[in-house]
């Protein structure tokens, strides 16, 4: 019994070391979204290409879509942009853009030069919609169902891997749910 007691510090050490070891691999930069399974927030904002056109939450409804937060000042957005173009063209995914805290002329030039994968891009110049969405950095992508509920959030670049393993299966599942 006394012998066993001597091992108590070792046991404590192992437990703590285990937690710390696990902590090394935690992706603490990625926050769980507080908005999963909640309705997409209300908004009333102009589009980037046509500032006279005001769009609202209703314009997003009716199909399963991706809502992609982007900006011309965001280098990772440039990285993911060609893939979004590909998704829109080849896979026929409905993608809406939110041009987050950006300048319109630069955004228009970006869309003209790099192709425009978006049905329309919402101009969120002061980042107010971004706050309602819990955006804390671009790019972020939200998967929204046809009733306007946010079903999934991805922080970072959308790429082939994410599409194949997460987004595509989720979209198919949601479409099935909505049919049934």
């Amino acid at each position: 019994m006394k012998r066993l007691k001597l091992f108590i510090p070792l046991a404590i050490f192992i437990v703590i070391a285990g937690f710390l070891y696990k902590g090394l691999f935690l992706e603490k930069d990625i926050l769980p979204s507080a908005l999963i399974d909640k309705p997409f927030p209300e908004f009333e904002l102009p589009t980037v290409k046509d500032p006279t056109r005001i769009v609202t939450r209703k314009d997003l409804l009716g199909q399963v879509s991706l809502v992609n937060v982007w900006a011309t000042w965001c280098p990772s957005c440039r990285v993911e942009h060609p893939y979004l173009v590909k998704l829109a063209k080849q896979e026929g995914v409905a993608i809406f853009g939110i041009d987050y805290k950006d300048q319109r002329d630069q955004a228009v030039r970006w869309l003209n030069q790099l192709h425009d994968p978006y049905i329309f891009s919402i101009e969120d110049a002061d980042g107010r919609l971004g706050i309602d969405l819990g955006v804390y950095g671009a790019p972020e992508t939200y998967l929204v169902d046809s009733k306007g509920m946010i079903r999934y959030k991805h922080v970072g670049v959308v790429d082939e891997y994410l599409w194949r393993n997460t987004l595509k299966p989720l979209i198919e599942q949601i479409k099935l749910e909505e049919k049934g």
């Binding site: 930069d29 926050l31 979204s33 507080a34 804390y136």
Partner: protein
């Protein structure tokens, strides 16, 4: 001379952090709101730069959140409403002081639990020690008795020592 330069260095070090603090020019209608603004922005965490609070961070998102908090306070919202607004959007994560709930019970209760365990171990050790002490002192009394010589023996000793 040395003391003076040390003093100057000390003063510079104390001033340095002031230069980093983000500066906003929000004008509050009441001093109370200003006070609450500084408490709130110090207690809420910046979602982008996770080791800073909203008051200290210079990131665009912290800037926007300061603006929103200012707006809400000037609209007459309570502290709880402001906190609720941020938790709804960014999750419990933004609270540097987590709320007491079933999820955070370990967090809040942990220290108390460890204190109790520590006290139990401490008392255990103390009572054991005092038991050992009393055993030792009993033994000591025994040996003292053994060392005491009877009257007979003392006289013999006297004789032997001359």
């Amino acid at each position: 001379m040395k003391l003076r330069s040390l003093l100057i260095i000390l003063v510079l070090f104390t001033l340095a952090p002031l230069g980093y603090a983000a500066i906003d020019t929000y004008e509050f209608s009441t001093p109370d709101r200003q006070q609450r603004f500084s408490v709130l922005t110090n207690e809420l965490r910046c979602p982008k730069c996770q080791n800073q609070n909203i008051a200290d961070s210079n990131s665009p998102i912290a800037n926007d959140l300061r603006r929103e908090i200012y707006r809400m306070l000037e609209e007459g919202k309570s502290d709880d409403q402001v906190i609720e607004f941020l938790v709804d959007r960014y999750g419990e994560f933004v609270l540097y002081k987590p709320r007491f709930s079933s999820k955070t019970i370990v967090l809040w209760g942990g220290p108390v639990l460890f204190l109790l365990i520590g006290l139990m171990v401490l008392f255990g050790l103390l009572s054991k020690n005092s038991r050992v002490d009393s055993v030792v002192s009993e033994k000591g009394a025994d040996s003292q008795r053994k060392n005491q010589l009877s009257e007979d023996e003392r006289q013999r000793l006297k004789k032997l020592l001359g």
